[in-house]
Symmetry: C2
Subunit: 502 residues, 2 copies
């Protein structure tokens, strides 16, 4: 049995190695690759994807999993061995249902669409992407239909990213949250706008990036196993548990840009760096779901990084770095500026309060499109209407409306957005639990110390990688299932102090 | 037939894509990878190597090659199709003779040895690497013996790097060259040393690197298909014909370091960037041999980059960049400094005259070791004796003696050094031919124009990639086979002006 288990592991590590090389092809493409490399790079990525899929869906893996079932049953559910077999089986059974030719066809289609989108977006031209998006929607439905027996057609698309959540669960949670958020957002945005001009002076890039990395190190990001590079659309990526990288972007006239990107990606990186080293190379060695992953980026970026306590410690340091720009700016002014709530067009630039409304719009549209309740051609109008309803403003163009996010132009429609809001909810839920166990965290943050918080997250979440599903992790870490209460409390408390909420 | 040819190409491109990803794993490891990534990276590289070898030695490729023989014979030898089949067959027939398990065994051994060497070299400890090197020598002999029927045991090891040259040919050429070089070197090094202190002031790195890239662009390096990064041991690497990168290293107290590295690697990059775009992804899309490749790095670095004509144009620019350091230094003084000949310990830092003596020592030792005339344990003493004989000095330690080059500690013994000197010889031979066809090249270089030279090299060498073997390229480009005369003339003329040679 031990030999079969080892053979399974060897095969999984081979697949992992190919996927890691694939990750490096993408990282390089987004950071350093000269433009001339693009055509061959697309081909190379497709080749490696295909080989990884072929190797992972090799029937030999299915046979090993079958043979290992008695062994798995003889072990504790929590044991690493049982978990590796269980998690691999779940992923294997999903992977073999998607034919290789279908994957290749979708991948070619999406490469084309992505290329078209990069031109259509600046040209504000929705009509150019429309026929492609219609094709994508077809592929998305087809993809879901490889998994018959679903309650909602979006369920099989949500599953690989947020296992354990169905469309109905997400809709329910989002509905509850929406009831709370819309009034808060509306009360705040009817007040005079906060003055955030202190963030929009000239801040030389090099100093911004250095400060950001100093913060990342303080959070606990291990630079002997990581690094930061610049890119257009920041992301975290991992080539092994010993090599977890982040990327950021900066604007010299906007102090928040690089800094909060860095904190956000550092949250993702802390999760991956915190995974048990023994899982290296196996399917256990990655964060368990999009939602739990996002809970960490949002926790470190927002709950910690935009808190008053954090800045009590770090604002004087920031003033030292930018004395001309910030010495005359009070901590309170700065803190209000980095937490400014406003009706804005772009999801990725939205504040904590309105952010989820952007996500819900997209999630609801994904469901309606998949259900056939909405057609691709209706998207621009529907976008405008819903925006008016939720934000009280109308996007002046498609560029900053329906064309803004890369997701639909680089992947299937369905399952790609819910993780962001689940992350906001979970970040608050985890943080509240950590705080209950260690009330000293608040004071430590004011002293620029993050070990207690970081250790709690490592022990309760990070170390497990994908060993447990998101619902299992939430239950184990917080003693209950996902709940919006801590998040609502967090928003009410924080924004009640920053704005008048009555 | 067309379908079979296409199938062959598709399979070759797949292998190429895996090898390109492998190349990126190495590039990243040498430039940006955090130290924590090392262990997994070694494993990932081994995985991709193995898959590429498995895919290339798939019997299906053998069958396609067999089936395509009549097609190949119906075509011109020079046609791209016939060449692709011919070159693939040559590489395939070599590859299938080496068992995968042997390759894996050697690869594991070499990874270990490399690790040991990185510690043994600074510790000056030859004894630590000795048992590993003995094992390497065994593997090297075993590797050669997969190709029975050779004249000399080194022949099969020279073949993949310098196809068309046998140990006896190289020995003959090196013997002739040595007869000329030893007296020149000895006459020069008995003269008072040239003062090169002008190169050893403080030169800020950023300005050095910028100047180097300006020169590289002038040479014709296309930055839309390339870039330069920093590393410890500079190299050129290619991920596709649209992505050919160089690396360099700099010392702020040594102006030559980064600059001549950049010129050298640019020479390699010009070769790869100049290959016919239609060969992308196939075995034709790479330089034809180590010797011809090195001829280009040495031509651009030395024949062009260390010439008086070049600096007539570029020295005033360099003075503008470093006015404090260079305004009081005459062009002649600078030119003598960058061409200083001396008895030195390190091959990679050696001047044009003594460089080949370093190479010959290593080449002769490789033959003697493979023949069994010398044992690994004899290496340090043999090194000292030969050094005394050729250079009139004795290396004070192993670190800068037998432990200095990475080659024996990262690969087999045999075939790894001759290309450097073949490159010096060929660089001069190609240059002399280009000059005969276009005498205006000399004047153009003085004006900072390199198009005529670059185009001649592209037309006669670069575009062909691996379509022709090195002997074929030499014959086609220069009308004769390899000859040392142009190189000797070049050295006599240049160093006759810089030193007294009588």
């Amino acid at each position: 049995m031990q030999a079969k288990y080892q053979e399974l592991k060897t095969r999984l590590i081979e697949v992992n190695d190919i996927n890691s090389a694939l990750g490096l092809l993408h990282w390089d493409q987004s950071t350093y690759m000269p433009p001339g490399g693009a055509a061959a790079r697309a081909r190379q990525s497709a080749t490696l994807s295909r080989i990884a899929h072929e190797k992972f869906t090799d029937p030999a893996i299915g046979k090993l999993l079958d043979a290992l079932t008695p062994y798995e049953q003889s072990l504790d559910y929590d044991s690493d061995e049982a978990s590796l077999i269980r998690v691999t089986r779940r992923k294997y059974e999903r992977a073999i249902k998607i034919p290789s030719e279908f994957m290749a066809e979708v991948s070619t289609h999406i490469s084309e669409l992505y290329q078209v989108w990069t031109e259509a977006r600046p040209a504000n031209d929705f009509e150019r992407v429309r026929p492609y998006l219609e094709k994508t929607l077809e592929y998305s439905r087809k993809s879901a239909n490889f998994f018959p027996g679903y309650d909602h057609i979006a369920d099989p698309l949500i599953e690989p990213r947020d296992y354990g959540m169905k469309a109905a669960d997400v809709s329910h949670v989002f509905g509850e949250l929406r009831k709370e958020l819309v009034p808060i957002a509306s009360v705040i945005t009817s007040q005079p706008p906060v003055d955030d001009s202190c963030l929009h002076k000239h801040f030389p890039e090099e100093k911004q990036l250095k400060f950001g990395m100093d913060v990342a190190k303080k959070f606990g990001y291990d630079l002997s196993r990581g690094r930061q590079d610049k890119t257009h659309h920041p992301f975290m990526t991992k080539f092994s548990l010993g090599d977890v990288r982040i990327t950021t972007r900066s604007k010299e006239d906007s102090l928040g840009e690089a800094l909060f990107c860095t904190m956000h990606e550092t949250g993702h990186a802390l999760y991956e760096q915190g995974i048990c080293m023994g899982y290296e190379g196996t399917p256990l060695a990655r964060g368990t779901s999009a939602g739990v992953h996002e809970s960490q980026s949002r926790l470190w970026e927002n709950i910690v990084g935009r808190s008053k306590g954090f800045w009590k410690c770090f604002y004087p340091q920031l003033q030292n770095i930018f004395p001309e720009q910030l010495n005359s700016v009070e901590l309170d002014t700065f803190h209000r500026a980095i937490n400014k709530v406003e009706r804005s067009l772009i999801r990725t630039e939205a504040d904590e309060v309105t952010y989820n409304l952007h996500v819900m719009l997209r999630f609801d549209f994904e469901l309606a499109l998949l259900e056939g309740e909405m057609e691709i051609k209706d998207l621009p109008d529907a976008w405008r209407e819903r925006f008016q309803e939720d934000f009280g403003i109308v996007p002046p163009d498609h560029k900053d409306g329906v064309l803004q996010d890369v997701h639909w132009y680089s992947g299937l429609i369905g399952g790609s957005f819910q993780g962001y809001t689940l992350g906001n909810i979970l970040g608050a839920q985890f943080y509240a639990t950590a705080l209950k166990a260690h009330p000293e965290i608040t004071e430590e943050i004011e002293k620029g110390e993050f070990n207690t918080l970081h250790n709690w997250l490592k022990n309760n979440i990070y170390q497990h990688g994908s060993k447990f599903t998101a619902p299992e992790i939430i239950e184990r870490a917080t003693g209950q299932s996902l709940t919006i209460e801590p998040y609502i409390n967090y928003l009410r408390t924080k924004y009640g102090e920053l704005y008048s909420l009555n």
